[in-house]
């Protein structure tokens, strides 16, 4: 065997002196190298790269006594558990160890202009329960947030377990971010998106005594799609997820990492210009893709066609229901209504043209199409596919797959869980809490909880209205 790695692996020990295995997990102040090795062992187990003591020794370069001690500590802390016996190589069969995905739980939610989704996730990002309901946009964001509290409360009550909520993950469209808030910093534990007077996240932190991560919804859906595809063995580490709804947005995964953008708002492709409309978008620009090919735009066009008789099918649906939904258009197209088929095909081409440009620039291995519009059926998807293939470079299309998402809105909740768990277990943060066994003891989280408690105690700021 090569002697080189041995020399190097032992180097870190030299300045520390010999490490004496500690027997008191989670007690007292642990030394740096002890903390470092705990983090290293934890990461090997959580990522699934190692599941026996021998594997951990081999991959971490830590000595046998140290690994044994760290494993005992992690089991005592409740982060790791022993499983069945692994295959024996020579001597006794090794006892497998695995990450305890039920050590804590995560509240997850998605909130957009039409729908609220809530769920409870374990530390592997798996959902225990999920629920969705339509929201009345007219009642404003405050009502939705109140609903969020109610649903979280209900879930915690319906699924009572003796485990703490370790964190909350929340996804919301960038268009709902408060764009004028100064100092928008989405990396902070309590990211500063504000609604009404009180910051959204502060309410959640105070109510559930846990840190909150807020992210662009489409980015969470991207993580969710990636996570589930990855688990199913369909790992393509470079992919573009496109959400086709009222808004058209995208999430980019490169080499297995989410691309967030400088302000966390990467993926606003609905505002890419097409030259097929002179209409002014809510963003202030002209001819945005969303305006001509978003779900709202399509329903608007269909409504006109139903009223002026261009589509007999739609006219019938409108007469029967008093309104038109996107699904009606897809359904009519499948039944052979030429107007609806043409409408969906035209929108597919417009979307495809924009995606072709992005595919050239980004060279993804897979484009996943999700959202309500992608569920209207094959006509729109075929038009998108065909247009992308026609307008991209051969090297880009050579192995490009264009597929339809099957996850619906679950992608957002699953993504919220995965993102939050990864944030809690990120190696730089993990070091701050691992010796206590819970991220709620991380100094930053403690400081956040203290700050929120403090600010709740303070009297409300004086009303700035002129009559005071």
């Amino acid at each position: 065997m090569s002697s080189k790695p041995k020399v190097i692996r032992q180097m870190p020990k030299t300045p520390e002196g010999r490490e004496a295995p500690s027997t008191h997990a989670g007690q007292g102040r642990r030394g740096d190298s002890e903390r470092y090795s705990l983090v290293a062992v934890m990461e090997l187990i959580r990522s699934g790269r190692a599941d026996t003591r021998l594997e951990i020794e081999r991959l971490s370069g830590l000595g046998r006594a140290v690994v044994t001690d760290r494993l005992t500590a992690l089991i005592d802390l409740g982060l790791v558990e022993e499983g069945e016996l692994g295959p024996a190589i020579g001597g006794r069969a090794p006892r497998r160890v695995k990450f305890r995905a039920d050590a804590g739980r995560i509240l997850v939610a998605t909130l957009d202009s039409t729908t609220i989704g809530v769920g409870l996730a374990d530390l592997a990002g798996r959902l225990r329960v999920e629920h969705y309901e339509a929201i009345d946009a007219a009642q404003g964001p405050a009502a939705s947030l109140k609903r969020l509290d109610t649903l979280f409360d209900w879930m915690l009550d319906q699924y009572p377990e003796a485990r703490d909520v370790w964190a909350i993950g929340l996804g919301t469209p960038v268009s709902l971010f408060n764009l004028d808030a100064s100092g928008l910093n989405l990396d902070a534990l309590d990211s500063a998106i504000a609604t009404d007077k009180a910051p959204l996240t502060e309410n959640l932190v105070a109510r559930y005594r846990a840190p909150v991560w807020v992210r662009s919804l489409v980015q969470l859906m991207t993580i969710g799609e990636f996570g589930v595809r990855n688990e199913a063995g369909m790992s393509n580490r470079d992919f573009l997820y496109v959400d086709l709804g009222d808004e058209i947005t995208a999430g980019l995964m490169s080499d297995g990492r989410l691309h967030r953008g400088a302000h966390g708002i990467a993926g606003q492709i609905g505002h890419i210009a097409t030259d097929s409309s002179r209409e002014v978008c809510r963003c202030g620009n002209i001819g945005c893709l969303e305006l001509v090919a978003g779900a709202g735009a399509i329903v608007g066009e269909a409504l006109q066609a139903a009223q002026d008789g261009r589509s007999r099918y739609l006219a019938e649906v409108l007469a029967a229901n008093g309104q038109l939904a996107l699904a009606d258009i897809g359904f009519s197209a499948r039944l052979g209504d030429p107007y609806c088929a043409e409408l969906l095909s035209r929108c597919g081409q417009l979307i495809g043209k924009v995606l072709a440009g992005l595919a050239n620039a980004l060279n993804p291995a897979v484009i996943v199409l999700g959202g309500e519009l992608a569920r209207t059926g094959d006509i729109l998807l075929a038009a998108i596919r065909e247009t992308i293939y026609r307008h991209t470079a051969p090297v880009v299309t050579r192995d490009l797959q264009i597929i339809r998402s099957q996850m619906g809105r679950s992608a957002g909740l699953i993504g919220a869980g995965l993102l939050t768990v990864d944030a809690l277990f990120a190696s730089d943060r993990l070091g701050g809490w691992i010796t206590t066994g819970t991220p709620l003891q991380h100094p930053d989280v403690q400081a956040l909880l203290a700050r929120v408690t403090q600010s709740r105690r303070m009297p409300p700021p004086p009303d700035p209205s002129p009559d005071r």
Binding site: T115, Y132, T150, Q158, A232, F331, G377, Q406, M407
Partner: protein
């Protein structure tokens, strides 16, 4: 009748009327002689009997055979074994009502992995995805049913009264949706009402739990049960104590229908259309076996039923003449 609830993955529901099989497709189906199996939580409830009737009648129309019907007796293990055994017998499709959430997810996933089409009734276990794991969930609009239950109960509750929710303590999508909707309607339309959950893990323990609750809460003014059997159990407890409370629930079972007609306890029922649901799931399965994608969330709106329209509703739901007892109150 619009659809109030969203699907297990947040989908907008497709009305079951949209499931239409063309004559050409019907002919293709008849030539193919598809073989199907059905796995139900129980086959003894009125709902199950009616759903089965709807399934069988529809399969007949399309020349498909119903090879086997399994009653799981609400048991997770029984369902897991049944799914495994039926999958091995390689039918073209299985129609199942999952008796739990994540616990039965893997067993269902294996059905479609083995190349057998899977259509689900009412419940989409967490973690299963449409397309790869199953064809469609064909469901009552459970959210709408909960809303109807709240709307029908509200007039009987005095201001600031206390209402109990007989809540199924299980990981079950359909009953969860009903309870959430009931609470939501009460929260926005009757914020004065105080809600208390009475959680029961199974029907056998309900009487004791409910009795204890009644002892501790003498001010209870009304009750909502997430389906008809617990409602009738609760009515038995109330009758035995000589306590009269207004109750609303979901499912127009025979006993519940009679109780509604009698008018003493049951004041309203959000009725599911079991027969139609059976028709819909059979059609969706055939559609998928013919190589077409049915919508992933197909919904049947509920029917608000009170004493005045119980006979009519019965006929509409069960596709048969109502028992004489239902017609009596109408003649009075």
């Amino acid at each position: 009748m619009s659809i109030a609830g969203l699907g297990p993955h947040g989908e907008r529901g497709a009305p079951f009327e949209q499931l239409d099989i063309s004559e050409a497709d019907a002919e293709r189906a008849r030539l193919a002689c598809f073989r199907l199996c059905v796995v139900l939580h129980t086959t003894t409830s009125d709902w199950a009997k009616q759903a089965l009737k709807g399934i069988a009648a529809t399969l007949d129309v399309y020349g498909a055979s119903l090879d086997e019907v399994v009653d799981c007796g609400f048991q997770i293990d029984t369902q897991i074994r049944a799914l495994g055994r039926l999958t091995d017998s390689a039918p073209d499709a299985i129609i199942s009502i999952p008796v739990g959430g994540s616990a039965v997810a893997d067993a269902h996933r294996r059905v479609s992995r083995a190349g057998v089409k899977l259509a689900l009734l009412d419940n989409g276990p967490t973690g299963l995805l449409p397309g790869s794991d199953y064809v469609s969930v064909i469901s009552a609009d459970n959210f709408g049913l909960g809303t109807i239950g709240a709307r029908l109960l509200s007039p009987y509750i005095p201001p600031a009264g206390r209402v109990g929710i007989l809540s199924y303590q299980a990981d079950f999508f359909a009953t969860n949706e009903r309870e959430i909707a009931f609470r939501k309607w009460m929260g926005s339309e009757r914020p004065d009402i105080r809600l208390s959950a009475i959680k029961f893990p199974d029907l056998g323990s309900l009487a004791a739990i409910f009795t204890a609750f009644l002892d501790a809460n003498p001010d209870l003014a009304g009750l909502f049960a997430v389906w008809d059997l617990p409602a009738m159990e609760a009515v038995k407890v109330l009758a035995a104590r000589g306590q009269c409370l207004p109750v609303t629930t979901v499912d127009l079972g025979n006993q519940a229908a009679l109780a509604l007609a009698a008018g003493d306890f049951i004041k309203g029922i959000a009725a599911q259309r079991a027969y139609d649901q059976g028709v819909a799931v059979a059609k969706a399965t055939i559609t998928s076996l013919l190589g077409r994608d049915p919508p992933s969330w197909i919904v049947l709106p509920g029917l608000a039923t009170q004493k005045a329209n119980v006979a009519e509703a019965y006929q509409r739901i069960w596709h048969e003449a109502p028992p004489a007892a239902l017609c009596v109150p109408k003649a009075v």
